[in-house]
């Protein structure tokens, strides 16, 4: 028995001695691997040992930073943190909706604290951006916002996330009201929702405009047979096209020259309308009165087509958000 105790003590001493001679970077690497394996208690112990054994060395600050981080997440004797680290290391790429639902249920049972808050944020973001399930995301963001001890940044981010989720659910107006109520009108999410609102309304108007234009062209093709008398009206068409195309391009170029190439769909849409109008005019040779009306109708159609192309390509939201950025 005595020999066993001596032997055991010797082993412990040997282990301690071995550790003491271990370079700091190796201990830190071992601790980091323990974090990767979702073993926060092991990692914490290694970091503590590293800090104690290598006091004064340059890299000890890394150990101290990790100690602070791990000890701030010690609720439930690090059990929730271990679980959270496991899911986090898995990432959303290989996480199924079922996995996330199961984890969300477990997180609700975690003791309140940083881990529960951070895990709830992860769940909310994953529902919104990865699985595109805004309803579940909204629920998670709202739970996050009600967490005890939430800091101001978390309050803002949870409100912003909830607003995006509401927007995806078609409740953009309510989302904007909530952001306003929280004093977060200046956040990018508010600008995004406002841009989306303009896009939605503008798209409906544009589609109606294009539909009316198409009907007008069709009826013209059927009914009008008189010759096109004023050749210089073609010049007017050109000027309308240049004006309608030119301004957006100048605007985009002013923001970022590299965006011009991304503006191609917009330019293409406008060019298509102008070309179709010109061809119809050539074919039908409308009266002067009809030609004038056609010009205005085509100008409106160009604007509508440009608007739709800009909205559908995501450019409208981006341009509006840039234009509305605080200066």
């Amino acid at each position: 028995m005595a020999s066993a105790v001596v032997c055991g003590s010797a082993l412990v001493l040997h282990a301690a001695t071995s550790f003491a001679s271990e370079p700091l970077d190796e201990t830190l690497a071992a601790a980091s691997r323990a974090e990767d394996r979702a073993e926060p208690k092991v990692a914490l112990e290694l970091y503590h040992r590293a800090a104690a054994e290598h006091e004064g060395e340059r890299l000890v600050r890394r150990a101290k930073a990790r100690i602070d981080w791990l000890e701030a997440r010690a609720e439930g004797d690090h059990g929730p943190l271990a679980e959270w680290l496991r899911v986090r290391s898995q990432g959303t790429a290989t996480l199924s909706e079922e996995d996330l639902s199961v984890f969300a249920a477990r997180v609700r049972a975690f003791p309140s604290g940083l881990v529960r808050r951070e895990a709830t944020q992860f769940i909310a973001d994953a529902w919104l951006t990865h699985f595109e399930r805004p309803s579940e995301a909204l629920d998670a963001y709202e739970r996050w916002s009600r967490e005890p001890g939430i800091d101001d940044a978390e309050r803002q981010l949870s409100a912003a996330g909830a607003a995006l989720a509401r927007g995806r659910l078609g409740n953009g107006e309510e989302a904007l009201r909530e952001l306003h109520r929280s004093g977060l009108d200046g956040r990018a999410e508010a600008r995004f929702l406002r841009a989306e609102r303009i896009g939605t309304i503008g798209s409906a108007v544009s589609l109606a405009c294009l539909a009316a234009y198409a009907v007008a062209l069709a009826s013209l093709l059927v009914r009008v047979r008189r010759p096109f008398r004023r050749r210089d009206d073609l010049l007017a068409y050109g000027l309308v096209g240049i004006f309608t195309l030119g301004l957006p391009i100048v605007f985009v170029h002013g923001y970022d020259p590299q965006l011009v190439h991304a503006f191609a769909p917009t330019m293409g849409a406008a060019a298509l309308v102008v070309t179709v109008t010109w061809l119809v005019a050539q074919a039908t040779e409308p009266s002067r009165l009809l030609a004038r009306r056609l010009k205005w109708a085509s100008a409106a159609a160009v604007v509508a087509a440009v608007f739709l192309a800009t909205t559908r390509s995501g450019m409208l939201t981006e341009l509006l958000m840039a234009a509305w950025e605080p200066r």
Binding site: R62, T129, A188, Q258, A262, G314, R327
Partner: protein
């Protein structure tokens, strides 16, 4: 604000200075154009060491010259005009054109804030601090030492606490109107490598908090170093603060920033929000004040006076270079060489002095000392992002040099997302040629350069696309990258804001 005029050879150093951790260490002089590698000293240093000043010298606000004070033996004549050479630094400091500027006079009681650190000289022996006060405060002093308690207690230089006097100036852009800002800056030089210092700034009776700052390992050392990479934080200080909080938990040695910190670089209120960003429990300033922050100029900064005034970078003035030489620069940290480039406007970056400087800089890299070479700039040369995409003009101008001198990783931002390319070496027209890749798309024995876009520190996210052949991984998400270098091994881990890992890879040289 610093202008590196030369890296002169070392003068003698007092043993006492070393005893307290302040001393002009010897080393290579800066052979790389514009690089702050190699320990340097100044004529001030040489004369000061011959004067035999000691750590015990009781430098005061009124008697200490700008730059490192008495205990390093680097007393220099008190400067009277800009540019000037801080004592023991071996480089010169310039400031933007402003109506009012001067040197420490110990006057004023404005509390320092926006305290942050940068590198203007050799990273193993110098650091500089920039801060803000009320406009009527012109006291510009830095107290530092290796004993935190002594620095905390000090109100002036003591046997173990060094006083460094600096300069100040009042600046404001046209957008700021009559609202001017008082910036202060002090340069601590002649420090020991790989040593933790503590410092505070301000003036007698009114000091900032005490912050820790660890100098870099000796140039060429294989000691482990860690740096963080982020960019495009503009207009969301909250998200920026959350990201900085996550980075602080990894204790990086320094941060590199790929541009666009704010939406409009000429608007000081935006910078104020940036410096004062907080999560409630964490202040961004605590990280900015304890690890050098090395930015590049983004299209939203546009080299505004506010940018040049507030950040500390090596100032090697090349022909036509703006912002007192801070438009582009390089520095060494441990065994890594960093090159910061200015790509705004693109037309000025693809030809002319910067291109020549880039080649000369890369050509002069001593790969035995700094085997790792990184470049950083704002507008991505390779990006599949839906908003900006690749800047092909920059690619055509710079990639041949990155290829020729085997730059390891090029960091950029501009597209608000994360993207890492496969290794690329060579161009076919303007299309990058994919090089041999190992596991996880990493280079094999320097087969190619990786292009990494990290632009997700707060600005509205852009759409990520993976349809480009050069893309290895991309995601539209908030992100930050932590780069660990140990000798010839590099490990890069990019995380999302929630801490989950987005990308992780390593390779050896």
């Amino acid at each position: 604000m610093m202008r590196l005029l030369r890296a002169s050879t070392l003068g003698s150093v007092t043993a006492l200075a070393f005893a307290f951790g302040f001393g002009c260490t010897s080393g290579d002089n800066g052979s790389i154009p514009g690089t702050t590698n190699g320990s340097t000293t100044s004529s001030g240093g040489a004369s000061a060491s011959s004067s035999g000043s000691s750590n015990a010298s009781t430098s005061t606000a009124s008697s200490t010259s700008a730059g490192t004070g008495g205990d390093s033996g680097c007393m220099a004549p008190k400067p009277t005009s800009f540019p000037y050479e801080p004592g023991c630094c071996g480089y010169q400091v310039a400031i933007p054109t402003v109506a009012e500027s001067g040197f420490n006079d110990g006057k004023g009681t404005g509390k320092p804030d926006h305290v942050h650190v940068g590198l203007a000289g050799p990273s193993e022996s110098t650091f500089a601090v920039n801060w803000r006060t009320a406009n009527d405060t012109t006291a510009t002093e830095l107290l530092l030492g290796t004993d935190k308690a002594a620095v905390t207690a000090a109100n002036a230089a003591t046997a173990t606490v060094q006083l460094v006097a600096g300069h100040h100036f009042l600046y404001g852009s046209a957008s700021d109107g009559t609202n001017k800002t008082r910036a202060h800056e002090a340069h601590a030089c002649g420090l020991k490598p790989a040593t933790e210092y503590f410092y505070k700034v301000g003036g007698a009776g009114v000091w900032s908090e005490v912050y820790p700052l660890t100098t870099a390992p000796a140039l060429g050392s294989s000691d482990a170093i860690r740096f963080a990479v982020i960019g495009d934080s503009r207009n969301d200080p909250t998200t920026f603060a959350k990201i900085e909080e996550a980075i602080a938990a990894q204790a990086p040695d320094l941060q590199v920033f790929t541009g666009d910190a704010v939406a409009t670089g000429a608007v000081q209120t935006q910078w104020n929000a940036w410096f004062e960003a907080t999560t409630g429990n964490f202040k961004v300033q605590s990280l900015l004040a304890s690890a050098p922050f090395m930015p590049v100029n983004g299209n939203h900064e546009s080299l505004a006076i506010n940018y040049a005034a507030q950040f500390i970078m090596p100032q090697v003035v090349e022909p036509d270079e703006k912002a007192e030489g801070e438009a582009y620069y390089s520095f060494d940290y441990g065994n890594a060489h960093f090159i910061a480039l200015n790509d705004t406007p693109t037309s000025g970056a693809t030809s002319g002095p910067q291109l020549a400087w880039l080649e000369a800089n890369l050509q002069a890299v001593d790969h035995k000392k700094t085997p790792w070479v990184f470049a950083m700039h704002h507008q991505s040369t390779y990006s599949c992002g839906g908003s900006h995409g690749s800047n092909v003009s920059l690619r055509s101008a710079w990639q041949p040099l990155f290829d020729k001198y085997k730059v390891d990783i090029v960091f950029s931002g501009h597209d608000h997302l994360y993207e890492r390319s496969k290794p690329i070496r060579g161009l076919s027209g303007t299309t990058g040629i994919l090089a041999q890749a190992g596991p996880k798309g990493t280079p094999v024995k320097g087969s190619g350069t990786l292009y990494l876009v990290s632009g997700g520190a707060g600005a509205p996210l852009y759409t990520a696309k993976d349809s480009c052949t050069h893309t290895y991984v991309t995601e539209s998400t908030r992100n930050y990258a932590i780069v660990d270098i140990t000798g010839t091994k590099i490990h890069v881990k990019t995380s999302r804001l929630d801490g989950s890992v987005l990308d992780e890879f390593d390779f050896t040289k």
